[in-house]
Amino acid sequence: MLWESFKLALRTIRRNVLRSFLTLLGIVIGVGAVIALVTLGQGANDKVKADLSKLGSNMLIARPGSSQPGPPSGGDSRSFSTRDVEALKAGLRDVRGVAPTSNKQVKVVYGTASLDVTVTGTEVDYFTVQDWTVLTGNAFTESDSRSGTNVCLIGATLVRDLLPGVEPLGEVIRVGAMPCTIVGTLGAKGQSAFGSDQDNTVVMPLHTFMRRIAGNTKISSIAVSANSAEVLPAVQATMTDILRETRRVPDTGDDDFSVRDLTQIASTMASTTSLMTGLLGAVAAVSLLVGGIGIMNIMLVSVAERTREIGIRLAIGALASQVLTQFLVEAVVLCLLGGLIGIALGLGLAWGGALLLQVPFNVNAGVVAIAFGFSGLIGLIFGFFPARRAAQLDPIEALRHE
């Protein structure tokens, strides 16, 4: 019986292709919008999460300068010193590493090729803290760090653009005025959450960087990686205390540095995207509701048009419940069809959007299934009233109907 109703519904829809399609438009747009928005939102979220993991996990970064709002304190903020770093290394617990870093944009030359690169001077812990993988060769050692030898590791962009087709290990590149031997290459990280190319980098021991590149002993930031997300707040507090002490900040004074939790910033971004997705999804849900009312309208028209047919069916032995089922199935099939078209449309839009916005295109099968089920549910809800009206027709009246 259900199968017969299903076939009958398909036939009725085929007979009124244009009308059925126009009726479905509301559902199509609603479902399409939900699918497109959720898929795109998911992609954006995935991207933020991927960026997040590239930053290094459970990472805290200390930078000079007040984090308090208000007018700038004037002049250069006092940068960190080796003493601050030593104090942190001695005082911090539950951390995987402490990595002081300094950066400078420097021209790097190999043969006739040259590239403007962010050169980072740091210590061995840097690779752990920032989640860098050493692809070939090795990271520089503690002794390299202490003695300040001219060695460096290069990022994937340099491997590709500066030394194409060359085995980089053992090659000597010129960083600024300093020749430097490549001892390792770094795994690719891609763009940062803030849009810069993280692979356009040269990493070398901090001492080497201070002496030969920067010409000073300033440390521009200290990155610390905590053992787990749970200890992160405690580590952050301890870090602040230690730095206040070593930098001799008066008890009543504001910090002249900031300790920030980068994962926090990134997860704020992620939650903002999900909020946006949710809001837009709600708007799309409203259009689904409107689509449902359209379905109800057309089903009422259909019942009125087919009053005589309903009368015939009742006269030859159809139960009221069978007539109800028939019209209900028709509404559900109509809505499911709209749902299918909407899903196809939504996925198409999301695919195009993902390409345009450069976010990953990840189809969430759960959302697709829910959208499909929801369109069926709309058919059930909005089809019920017209179907009940059909089922309650008086056979004599219905048969007399022209």
């Binding site: 019986m1 017969e4 007979r15 005589r308 047919e309 009368g311 015939i312 069916r313 009742l314 006269a315 030859i316 032995g317 159809a318 139960l319 009221a320 419940s321 069978q322 056979p395 004599i396 048969l399």
Partner: protein
């Protein structure tokens, strides 16, 4: 088999009350071919609708093989129609854009019969009304007489106890009308099908074994033809 006892049917309320049937008593035995005649407004159609379980009497008793039908609820009456009655209408009332065989299969679908069996039964019923080879024609492709034959096939496909025909020849020309009447007469004689037919044409009533004539909501005359 069918018994109407003191059936009254009143339409409207208060001063606007119209009495369509004013105490009708009829007994119909199995195997009868009854013509129900009368001027329009005489109550013959109302009586037919009550017999067909499409309408309820205001008062009185309607029983089938001794079982009271008048007081059944809608679903029980639908089941009664489905199991014991077949309908033929003046306007054929076939589903448009639906083939003959699908029209005939319709009552079987509601009985939940399996597809293959349904198809076989429908083809058999179409053959019985002389429409072999027209199974896949839609009503639009058939003449009026052929459409009425499809309707008769649809009515008899369930092997009903009673066939109710409401002016089955009303939309047909004389030759087709006589064809249809001969078909009904055959069904009555060869298969013993009880047929109740509303008509206002004395020519058609001649095919019947009994004529009940209505006037002003009462039975005026009840004539049994000599066998």
């Amino acid at each position: 088999m069918l018994a109407l006892r003191n059936i009254r049917k009143i339409y409207g309320e208060g001063a606007a009350q119209v009495s369509a049937l004013a105490g009708v008593n009829v007994d119909v035995a199995e195997g009868e071919f009854v013509a129900i005649m009368g001027a329009s407004g005489s109550g013959k159609s109302t009586c037919m609708n009550i017999l067909g379980c499409l309408d309820r009497p205001t008062s009185g008793s309607f029983s089938f093989h001794g079982v009271e039908i008048a007081t059944l609820d809608n679903d029980a009456r639908a089941l009664f129609r489905r199991n014991y009655l077949g309908f033929v209408f003046q306007g054929f009332n076939l589903l448009a854009r639906t083939t003959s065989i699908e029209n005939v299969e319709l009552p079987l679908i509601y009985r939940g019969m399996a597809r293959a069996e349904r198809h076989r039964e429908a083809a058999r019923a179409l053959a019985a009304v002389g429409l072999e080879g027209r199974e896949n024609h839609t009503p639009g492709e058939l003449s009026g007489g052929q459409q009425q034959r499809v309707a008769i096939a649809r009515a008899i496909v369930t092997n009903p106890k009673v066939l109710l025909a409401d002016e089955p020849t009303g939309n047909l020309d004389s030759a087709r009308s006589h064809d249809i009447m001969r078909l009904l007469q055959n069904l009555n004689r060869e298969q013993g099908l009880t047929i109740l037919m509303v008509t206002h044409e004395p020519d058609m009533a001649k095919y019947c074994s009994r004529q009940i004539i209505f006037s002003d909501g009462r039975i005026l005359d009840d004539i049994r033809a000599a066998a």
